[in-house]
């Protein structure tokens, strides 16, 4: 019944949107093809149909192995590797955006079909593999009663957690399995409405600043411009004082941040706007330039004006710069991590990107972890699949990748918020 009604809805959608299969334009790299914006009367939607992994596993390249190191979590999003090899997992679901239009009620119901029904954990879970055999025998709650924790960073012996409404700090001693007390608030973060609630976090190389990714409060200003104060930007927060300033703006939803160690440069993956077609607008990976404006909401990929934003702001559009590297439209990049040479020859220089997967596209994309190769500290080629099989050829979706973290011992940690699992991909032998 559910399935047939979904098919009926999809059929109606494809009729009303007045478009069949389009060839997917080449959308990787610094200069993606951008078709004209278009939208039928109904948006194209293909919602993940969740299924259990059972004895199946995600697919990894030859020379690599994957195992589930933690299961039955409560919506794992981002992970943090601690100096002793322990892994912290931020678990939770946030957002309190009210449904404003009839469409919001329908869309929120449909989208919920493709996510985990598990209750928000609002906690940090610690995973430990004491004997180094790849089995994380300890799975314990490090801290709870948090508010939709997402971004994590370790700076000078303190663990910083970006809740959906504030950055908080835990003092941390090596080997600790439980926080020694309630966290101390560093600074409040913009949290009214919280349409895009995730607060990504990274620390500068010198440990002086935190960078916080704050998503927009709407797809494309449909909650009004007053809701967008302090949104769609990256903040720079002083670790000592909590004082903040906007570091870069016009980044619609910067869902993960990472520092490139060779240059100390901040990088981000950003989710771009919806509802102007299956191939607009590409989500992207970019170095984040201080004081730069990346377009949202007035324009996309540089200075392509979005007519849905009124009144327009031609001066802002003229100041908008294009990001570095397109990951493809609607892939929903939610994780980014720089690799190390220990990840093997083919995957040693570049970034891993966790792609949660599309919902507003007839032909689903994402649902995998890709590797963007770098050379001379810049992206140097098309993305390569690293972990796939989250969405099977049977159309069923068993997992959705979020945060990715590189373990310099030669492993990639992948949080999966659909099956509530943390995966660990390890190098088996030197990949060639």
């Amino acid at each position: 019944m559910k399935r047939s009604s979904m098919i009926a809805a999809a059929t109606i959608a494809s009729l009303l949107s007045g478009c069949g299969k389009d060839p997917v334009p080449s959308q990787y790299g610094p200069d993606p093809q951008l078709p004209q914006p278009k939208r039928g009367l109904l948006p194209n939607m293909t919602i993940a149909e969740p299924a259990k992994w059972a004895d199946q596993r995600p697919t990894v390249p030859q020379g690599y192995a994957i195992s589930a190191i933690a299961t039955d979590l409560q919506i794992p999003r981002q992970t943090l590797l601690l100096p002793n090899g322990d892994i912290l997992v931020a678990e939770g679901r946030g957002g309190s955006a009210p449904n404003l239009k009839p469409k919001d009620f329908i869309a929120s119901y449909i989208k919920a079909q493709g996510t985990s029904p598990v209750k928000s954990g609002n906690r940090l879970t610690l995973l430990r593999d004491a004997d180094g055999d790849g089995v994380y025998e300890v799975q314990t709650i490090f801290a709870d009663n948090l508010n939709a924790p997402y971004g994590l960073a370790l700076v000078n012996g303190s663990i910083f957690v970006a809740n959906q409404d504030a950055i908080v700090r835990f003092e941390y001693q090596d080997g600790q399995t439980q926080a020694s007390g309630r966290p101390v608030k560093v600074t409040d973060l913009p949290s009214a409405i919280n349409h895009h609630w995730t607060k990504a976090l990274a620390a500068s190389a010198d440990g002086q600043f935190l960078y916080v990714g704050i998503g927009s409060n709407s797809n494309i200003t449909e909650r009004g411009m007053t809701a967008e104060v302090d949104r769609a930007m990256v903040w720079q927060v002083d670790v000592q004082t909590g004082a903040h300033k906007p570091y870069a703006t016009g980044l619609r939803n910067p869902t993960a941040l990472a520092i490139q160690t060779s240059t100390n440069q901040l990088w981000a993956v950003v989710n771009e706007r919806d509802e102007i077609g299956p191939d607009l607008v590409p989500d992207y990976l970019t170095s984040v330039r201080e004081r730069a404006f990346y377009g949202w909401p007035y324009s996309y990929w540089g200075q392509n004006v979005d007519e849905r934003v009124q009144p327009q702001d031609p001066d802002k559009v003229r100041s908008a710069i294009a990001p570095d590297y397109s990951l493809g439209s609607h892939v929903a990049a939610l994780g980014v991590a720089f690799s190390t040479p220990t990840m093997g020859e083919s995957f040693g220089d570049g970034v891993f990107v966790g792609e949660h997967g599309s919902w507003n596209r007839a032909d689903p994309v994402g649902y995998k972890v890709v590797f963007v190769p770098f050379r001379n500290a810049r992206p140097s080629g098309p993305p390569v699949d690293f972990v796939t099989g989250f969405r099977g050829s049977d159309g069923k979706t068993r997992g959705r990748p979020v945060g990715v973290t590189v373990d310099p011992r030669g492993a990639l940690i992948v949080a999966d918020d659909l099956s509530n699992t943390v995966w660990r991909v390890t190098v088996q032998k030197a990949a060639s």
């Binding site: 939208r39 009367l41 404003l100 239009k101 009839p102 200003t221 449909e222 009004g224 009124q310």
Partner: protein
């Protein structure tokens, strides 16, 4: 040929039918005015109002359509004007439905098509209400 009229009064549409039919006018008219206000101020709340007023108009108009279909199927109620009334109300409902989809677009994406469709829907709803109430129905015509 003799015609016997059992009642001196013409029968208008059922009172509930009347309320629902007349109710479509302020709904669809309100949506058109809200859209006009959004178009002139860019204040997004007007667009939200319009979206809900259109849905309200569709609910009222949808039930009124059911009444109209029932009236059409009953010979004592069926008059030439009833078919015209039904057709105009159906047209208002269909345009209103597509207008609701148009209003599901984010921000200015619903414009200017949404305003045009809202005006058309409002005019059709007014016409349908006119025809619905103006149609003579003689009770007990044998």
């Amino acid at each position: 040929m003799a015609v016997t009229i059992e009642s001196r009064y013409s029968s208008s549409i059922h009172p509930l039918h009347a309320v629902l039919l007349a109710g479509t006018v302020p709904m669809f008219l309100g949506a058109a005015l809200s859209d006009a206000e959004y178009a002139s101020t860019y204040e997004i709340q007007w667009s939200n109002f319009a979206s809900w007023l259109i849905v309200g108009g569709l609910v009222f108009g949808g039930v009124a359509l059911l009444f109209a279909i029932i009236d059409l199927s009953r010979p004592t109620r069926r008059t030439p004007g009833a078919a015209v009334y039904f057709a105009v109300l159906l047209a208002a409902w269909i345009v209103g439905f597509f207008n609701a989809l148009m209003h599901a677009r984010d921000a200015w994406g619903s414009m200017p098509g949404g305003l045009v469709m809202s005006v058309i829907t409002a005019v059709l709803a007014c016409s349908a209400t006119w025809f619905g109430f103006a149609t003579p129905r003689i009770r007990g015509l044998r």
